[in-house]
Subunit: 336 residues, 2 copies
DNA sequence: CTGTTAGCGCCTTCAG
DNA sequence: CTGAAGGCGCTAACAG
C-alpha cells in the first residue's frame, strides 16, 4: 500500500500497534497516562518498524525548536572557543542544540546570520556583536525571539546583555604605574562605531590622569586586535626617540605580537619594557615570558548568557532586560 | 477572525495579495514564473504583513533542513576550532547551518549526540570520533543521513572519511634521528579501543627499526593528550638514569607540557633535549622555544569533510565511500 | 483511560 | 500563467 519502505510515521506505528496516534504521541512524550499494555504494544511497534521521531514536525506543531543560535566573530580566534563552550554546555544540559556561526566581525554578516537563524526558527540568539550598527539593532529588534548580547561592544538598555566590568584597562594601567612606570603606551583596538561604552583607552587615560601624568599622543597606537597588528605597533613604539617603558595592549593577541616585536628588536621583557595584555587566552600562559593580563571569564560569560536566554525562554525572570556584568581579574605573570 | 496578530503565514499573504498560496510560495522560492504584477502584489503583502518564511515547515515538506551536525571532542581544545571553521565556512557558502556539539571524546556522548542530531533532521553529520566503538558504529550505520568521519581514529571502509596521512610520527622521529639523536623517547596517546589504524607509536617504532635502534621500553610513555599529561611524562623521562636526548610527543599540548617540565627541571631545549610535537596548534609557534612539529591541515580537513558531505547530499560523486588522506608537513622551528 | 480530528506553515502535483 | 487541494509528521484539544 505505502509506496515503499520510505519513512515511517507515528501513524504507521499506531496502525501497527492497534492504537490511536495520540496514544503513540503520548508514550513518545510521556505526556499522559498510557496503560502498560498499550505502552508495550507501542514500544514493540516502534522497534519493529524502526520508527524515528521527527523533530521538525514536532517543532512546527509546538512552536519550539529547542535550538539556539550563537554568533561570534570567529571560533578560531582563541578568545571564543571557551565562550562557545560555556553556552554549549548550558544549552546541552537543557536539551538545546546550538547553531554556531562566525561573523568575522562584519556587520552585514551579522545581519545575514540573524536572518538565517530566525528562518530556521531558533528559539533564541546569543550574539557577540562587532558593534551597535543601526542595521543590526533594527534586525535584532524586529526579531520575535529573545536575544542576549555578550561582550562589551553593545550596551543597549532594551536587550539582555552580559558584559565584562569596564575598568579592566584602568586596573592594568594602574598596576603598571604602581610598578613605577611613567611612560606607558597603549595599543588599543579600532574604534567601535556608535559605541557609547567606555573604551579601553578611557581606562588607560583615567589611570594616567589619576596619577597626574599627561598622556603622550605618541604612545597611543591603534591596533586591530590581531597579532600582526600588535607586532607592528610595538615596532613603531620601539622606534620612538623616547620609547615607553611599559605597554598595555587591548588584547592578548596584540600583546603577544608585541612580545615578538620586542624579541625581534632585541629588547628584553620585562626588564627593558613591560607588557600587559587583556583576555587571558590560553597562549598567554605559554608565552615566554608568560603574559601578565586582565583575565576575562570567557566560559562563564557563555554560561551566563545561555542561562539568561534559557530563563527568558522559560518565561522566568523579570520582564525588563537584564544587564549582567562579570568581573575580570588581573593575572600577574612574568611580562610585567 | 484570526485570534490575534499572532503569526502570519503564506496563506495570510496570499489573501492580502489576492492570489493563491502557490503563487506566494513560488515568488518566495523563485520556482516558477510569476507575472510582474502578481509578484509585486505579493511582495507588497509580504512587507505589509511583515511576513517571515518558516523554515521548519518548509523543511518538513521538502525533507531537507539545510542543516548539518558537527561533533568534535571539544571546541576549546586548540586543535578543533580551525577544523570547525573549515566545515562552517564550507557549509555556510552552500546555505547550510551547522550544529556544533562537543563529545569530550566520550563514546556514549557521541552516540547521544548522533541521535539528537538525527532527531533534529540534520541532512548529514561530520564526526571526529574518539574511536570505533561498536555502539557508535551501529548508531552511525542505522542513520538515514550521510556521515563523514574526520580524524584518524576510525577507518571503516563503509564510511566516507578524511584522515591525515599515517606517517607523521615516522617523519618526526626520522628527523630527530637525522640530527644525531639515538635515545629518542615517545610520549604517546592512550590506546584507541578497537582501532586498526597505525598508531603514532607504530611510526616511532618503524623509524627506530629503520635506523637499527632497539627501542627502550623506559623511553615509551603513555600520555593522555593533555598538557599536564605531557608535563608529568616528561618529568619521569628526565628522572631516568639515562634520560633521552630527544622526545617526540603525540600532540602539541603534551609537547608544550614537556617544555614546561624541562624548564622546571632546568633542562635546556633544544640544547639538552630536543622536543617535537604534532598538530601545529597556534600555541606551538608562540612557545619558547617555538615548537618543531608535524603540522596537520586542520582547516583543510574540515573543508574537505564538508565538501564530501555536501557532494553526497547533492547526490554527486561515486556511490562508494571515499577515503581522503591529507598530507602533513614537518615544521621545523626551534625546539628540535 | 483512549481515540478523533484539526491544524502548525509550507510545497507541489494536478488542473485549467 | 495561476489556483485548488493534499499532505509532510506531529501535538493537543475535545470527546467519550
Amino acid at each position: 500500500m505505502r509506496p515503499s519502505r520510505s519513512r515511517v510515521s507515528i501513524k504507521d506505528v499506531s496502525r501497527h500497534a492497534g492504537v490511536s496516534v495520540s496514544t503513540v504521541s503520548h508514550v513518545l512524550n510521556g505526556t499522559r497516562y498510557v496503560s502498560p499494555e498499550l505502552r508495550a504494544r507501542v514500544e514493540a511497534a516502534i522497534t519493529a518498524l524502526d520508527y524515528r521521531h521527527n523533530g521538525l514536525a514536532r517543532s512546527l506543531r509546538t512552536r519550539r525548536s529547542y535550538t539556539i543560535g550563537l554568533i561570534i566573530p570567529d571560533v578560531s580566534n582563541p578568545y571564543y572557543p571557551q565562550l562557545a563552550r560555556g553556552v554549549q554546555d548550558t544549552a546541552d544540559e537543557a536539551g538545546y542544540a546550538v547553531f554556531l556561526c562566525n561573523s568575522d566581525r562584519r556587520p552585514e554578516q551579522e545581519v545575514r546570520l540573524v536572518a538565517a537563524l530566525e528562518q530556521r526558527q531558533v528559539d533564541g540568539i546569543i550574539l557577540d556583536a562587532a558593534g551597535p550598527t543601526p542595521e543590526l539593532l533594527t534586525a535584532l529588534r524586529r526579531l520575535r525571539q529573545p536575544v542576549v548580547l555578550v561582550g562589551s561592544r553593545i550596551d543597549e538598555p532594551d536587550f539582555d546583555r552580559v558584559m565584562m566590568a569596564p575598568h579592566g584597562s584602568y586596573d592594568a594601567v594602574r598596576y603598571l604605574l604602581s610598578r613605577g612606570h611613567r611612560r606607558v603606551a597603549l595599543i588599543g583596538g579600532p574604534p567601535v562605531f556608535g559605541s557609547t561604552r567606555p573604551t579601553k583607552a578611557a581606562g588607560y587615560l583615567a589611570a594616567l590622569a589619576e596619577a597626574g601624568i599627561e598622556p603622550d599622543p605618541a604612545l597611543i597606537m591603534q591596533g586591530d586586535y590581531t597579532r600582526e597588528g600588535g607586532r607592528l605597533a610595538m615596532h613603531r613604539l620601539l622606534a620612538l626617540s623616547a620609547p615607553p617603558t611599559a605597554v598595555f595592549a587591548g588584547n592578548d593577541l596584540m600583546a603577544l605580537g608585541a612580545l615578538v616585536a620586542a624579541r625581534e628588536a632585541g629588547v628584553r621583557v620585562p626588564e627593558d619594557i613591560a607588557i600587559v595584555g587583556y583576555d587571558d587566552i590560553p597562549e598567554a600562559s605559554v608565552a615566554v615570558p608568560a603574559l601578565t593580563t586582565v583575565a576575562v571569564p570567557k566560559y562563564e560569560m557563555g554560561r551566563v548568557a545561555a542561562e539568561l536566554l534559557l530563563a527568558r525562554l522559560r518565561g522566568e525572570g523579570s520582564q525588563q532586560p537584564q544587564r549582567i556584568e562579570l568581573p575580570h581579574r588581573l593575572v600577574i605573570r612574568a611580562s610585567a
